[in-house]
Symmetry: C3
Subunit: 230 residues, 3 copies
């Protein structure tokens, strides 16, 4: 079920029951699993691996109650060379996965997200829209990366971290802003980051900490509420 | 692969490799993705959108060790008009999704759950059995909504909240009861709610709080263990 | 799409669009759903139930930045009698699921994991590699079980617990070691366990606790950081 307008490179293997829609382009030496759906206009580079049951290039949808209406016009999903994507992932339109990015099984990445070279998005990670993730970042299994967030190069998130971008929780009187995590910061597992806080360069957030204020560079914060160690 | 006993309305689009079992009924203007399974007796209204790789109307199963045996007799799954369901969801029998409900990708809703009009179930949310969710409720990405829980109208759960219903953790000497969250309450991201506690109307639970006792109406609770602010 | 080298027992039902690769063996009275992929060499016993959209026997993959390179040689996935596996699961090669194990929907189990008789792996649970799980263990929905972890018999994990195995968060100067949870211990929902700690026999970790040190046998620990109650 490959649409006749799709452009497929050399040495591409395509699994069973896989659907490739119109104007998809796929480079050389790409491997695609079973039951995959690659939606219209998705662009895939060379040496890419896409595992079973993944959906690439999903559009957005919305219901009556949602604050933010989806963009009506979204760019295609672009997947650069050497990217690996797991099983049962859902990746939206207007996402850019740069060279060497790894996306684990059961992960989802929403629209208007860019992830830079060689970063790791673990299994079961959810990335919301309008977020940028730098180079060589590790986001371990089960993290929730909220919308409107900035993650600089070489940041490390341990498993199950939670972030948020809405100080007033749906009351609508706050400009949505996720946390800003500066270069080289390390966040321990199951930590909680509040909206709009800044985690400084090379700072460390302890496992289970609840960070309610900005953390300066090169500091360690632990506890609930998070306190900076001397 | 549409069973001959299924009733399909006007202007319905059905994706590739989708399986529709016996006695399913589908209204008008419905869009169904690829690799979807709609199990026997499921009832779907008008203007419904079901995305790729979703399973609707799953029965229950159990192993030797499980405390609660599944009901042998379950009603069909009912999906009312204007509902949107994401990719890779699993929704069980005996669930009622009322008009305008939105269910994000990779979510799962177990049996004997009712979700009222226009509520949002975010991506990767797990809802357990025997729980009721009111109107215009928002449950953000990655929340865990336990069994035997009551969520009233206009409640807001931030991402990654966790709830539980078993005080003695599998020892069997406790009537299972999840938290009761009253109208308009707002729960911050990654908060933890213990079994059987009541969160009062319009109360606020801070991000990362661990709520071990009832919270009166119009109060704010933060910290671990959660303390009510004056 | 059943490979001619696969060995299929008596009274086996196989859903639509399901792919069974070379040298798979399947026992008697097995039920397999729609859109399932069973990869090469997987061995399945009698009375097993595998639900829709699940992938069995996945190999590992890696990118440039990952610390641990995958084993090049992995044993097949072995599933013993009476095992039940949900929808949209991903289970890797070199996993052993012993008799009567239950795996919920949307769960994933990585390579070199053994799970003993009658244990329950809840929905949306992620189990990392090189971990052993004993008999009659309950791991509730949404838990993250890290790599290099030992869970003894009859342990109970409430929902959404988080564990980690890397004290220095990717800096590479620590032998990776997950927590060790002794027989009969009970972990409350959304608790956080740090690397290499030991939770003693029959001890209790409160909901939302952050456990940074070993817990002796028969003790209860609560809070952040976790403190042992007298």
């Amino acid at each position: 079920m490959i649409h006749e307008s799709a452009m497929i490179g050399k040495n591409v293997t395509i699994g069973k029951n896989t659907i490739i829609e119109e104007h998809v382009s796929i480079g050389d030496n790409v491997s695609i699993g079973n039951n995959v759906t690659i939606k219209a206009n998705t662009q895939i580079g060379d040496n890419v691996q896409i595992n079973d049951l993944t959906v690439l290039g999903k559009g957005t949808s919305t219901n009556k109650k949602m604050a933010r209406k989806p963009s009506t016009k979204l760019d295609p999903l672009i997947i650069e060379n050497d990217v690996i994507i797991g099983c049962s992932c859902v990746i939206y339109r207007s996402v850019l996965l740069k060279r060497g990015v790894f996306v684990g099984d059961l992960s989802s990445i929403r629209e208007n997200v860019a992830i830079a070279e060689d970063s790791i998005i673990g299994r079961n990670v959810m990335v919301e829209n309008n977020t940028t993730i730098g180079k060589r970042v590790t986001i371990q299994t089960g993290c929730y990366i909220t919308a409107d967030m900035e993650i600089e190069d070489e940041v490390f998130f341990g498993p199950c971290c939670s972030t948020s971008n809405d100080k007033y929780m749906g009351m609508g009187n706050f400009v949505l802003q996720g946390p800003i995590v500066k270069r080289g910061a390390k966040i321990g597992n199951n930590a909680t980051l509040l909206p709009a806080i800044v985690i400084g360069e090379n700072s460390i957030v302890g496992a289970g900490a609840v960070v309610t204020k900005d953390v300066p560079n090169n500091k360690t914060v632990v506890g609930n509420p998070g306190k900076t160690l001397k």
